[in-house]
Assembly symmetry: C2
Homo-oligomer: 343 residues x 2
């Protein structure tokens, strides 16, 4: 059975054109039903410009737009006809199986929470991102859905993230680590020390604290972080990679033999760049929402949009949320764990 993916045509730095083109690419490659949610006239203009036959798509007119800088909760409350609010509404009513947006992350999170609602037992959604490691891939959650979390929220990220790693990354009994400034359990802020206790008392395959410098080591399949810290960790990586690239380039160019060397490794550098661009090329699941919501990077181009749609299609087929719900129930029924929560 084919699935129905709604895509927010109005959201993203390069909307509507790159989003539209990404949706067209996805239609060609995956042949699922794609619903374009955005300003009808803009979608039609894009179709003309890019010589695309709109018969292959459904259009859902959403005249309003939520800009990248708008306050999330307020904009969701006020702009009922925005692509983000309409997309969330359609998902709520099961008119689509998944919603993909590269727009205002906070607004997408707020709309998902307020309109679609959360899985029973989950109190806040978290954004997970797959990061490349020496061993393959790890998931870091949360990277910014919730910047004022409580310890229990982080614990719930761990549950959701480990189910995700099991199903999507196909890992048996995935390991969970807590992003921290040292490995010993006495390390870190009072906040993370308490989160550590919750994990240690649970039946998850908890490996303890993961020092930030080992984030890319593959030591843990699922890395749990406060949304503020996780976002900083991710963004610093982006900045570091960029700066390092420029530094290296400058250094090489000052060396007479450097330019020749650079030409010889050019192909490798290009491959390498693709690995580094992980944050941009692939959608990030907003876990905890009672429906599949995929957040794309604001800078997404058509290729990235296509990938985000692919992630959405996969997730619909995995039946992730049913399994998250089951795992939450199992863990919360454990008597030791219950006692810890009532203290």
């Amino acid at each position: 059975m084919s699935c129905r993916i709604g895509i927010d045509i109005s959201g993203g730095d390069h909307a509507p054109e790159e989003i539209f083109k990404g949706a067209v690419l996805a239609k060609k490659e995956y042949n699922e039903e794609i619903i374009l949610i955005g300003v009808k006239e803009e979608i039609e203009a894009q179709a003309r410009k890019n010589k695309v036959n709109l018969k292959d798509f459904e259009i859902m007119h959403a005249p309003e737009k939520i800009d990248m800088g708008e306050a999330p909760a307020t904009s969701v409350r006020r702009k009922k006809n925005s692509s983000i609010v309409i997309g969330a509404q359609m998902l709520k009513e099961r008119k689509i199986d998944a919603f993909v947006s590269c727009g205002n992350t906070g607004a997408a999170t707020a709309a998902a929470t307020l309109i679609i609602g959360l899985i029973e037992g989950i109190e806040r959604p978290g954004i997970g991102i797959a990061i490349p490691t020496r061993e393959g891939v790890s998931l870091i959650i949360d990277v910014g859905a919730n910047v004022d979390p409580k310890p229990l929220h982080l614990f719930q990220y761990g549950i959701m993230g480990s189910v995700y790693c099991e199903l999507v990354f196909n890992k048996q009994s995935p390991t969970v680590g807590l992003l921290n400034i040292g490995e010993e359990e006495t390390k870190g802020s009072d906040f993370v020390k308490y989160v550590h206790k919750l994990f240690a008392a649970s039946s998850l395959n908890f490996k303890g604290n993961l020092e930030a410098k080992h984030m890319f080591s593959g030591q843990c399949d699922c890395i749990v972080a406060d949304g503020f810290v996780g976002n900083v960790a991710l963004k610093v990586t982006e900045g570091c990679a960029e700066t390092m690239g420029k530094f290296l380039f400058d250094t090489i160019m000052k060396d007479p033999l450097g330019l020749l060397g650079l030409l010889l490794i050019k192909r490798s550098l290009r491959k390498f760049k693709r690995v580094l661009d992980y944050a941009e090329y692939g959608g990030a699941p907003l876990l905890g929402v009672d429906g599949v919501v995929i957040i794309g990077h604001g800078r997404s181009n058509a290729y990235a949009v296509k990938n985000a749609i692919r992630v959405a299609i996969h997730e619909v087929k995995y039946d992730l949320n049913v399994k998250i719900k089951k795992r939450v129930d199992e863990i919360y029924q454990n008597e030791d764990f219950k006692r810890l929560l009532t203290v």
Copy 2:
């Protein structure tokens, strides 16, 4: 006039040998008075092994050691004869002008706070680290002295950091930025939003939020962060640089022309590595303490120890703390700012 630098011979992953050798290098290069604080027998054994004449040094016997994993406050209270406690005590009594330790950072911070005390008007010390940027160098403070800070502590880091940038980096009216997940002042946790208000109301040259991905851009001279977040940002950089290096190497090695290319850029790569190792090669000032305390990286080798001693010598000559005290007074006397604090 020469200055007297106390160095903790017992602290660090490669103590005592690398620390001892670093002290010897520093003596040769800077010819200031170096006081070796550590286990007398171990220092003498090192002198024999490395054929060093101990006449050039003073030795302060400190029979106890605080290990890297020990709980900071407890170890400082219990181990009165440890190199860290004795070093702090000597600085307090002005028997040395600066104290350098590559040992347990938490213990060094606790000893400095409890024994030496803080500059009037400063409530918590913060560790500042100079990071390489496209424009030259920035200071990020705090990178781990205080992982449960209050908003006012971050504001005080901004005062200290900007004085540091002015004196040590020789920057006129240094810019101050707040490490955050977005640029708009509405971004981030409730905590950083409040810190933003404090900075905005002050007379510092505050540039607003600095997105984590611009940490290495040189946009701000002084980058202020919560010690937990700052430490994660720093450590992620370390890990990212390492992983990226390996990824790149692997990719290049799979390409037939790659190896030749690699040989040609080898010299550049070596230069580049030196830039990346900033965290290891240079001591980090523990700002806010009423005396000069320099924290070296735990992994410090002799060369890094020598550099940390150089940083200590410089700081003694800058009279930094007198200037920090003066700046704190100026800012706190401003009526608008006073009002904000009493709300």
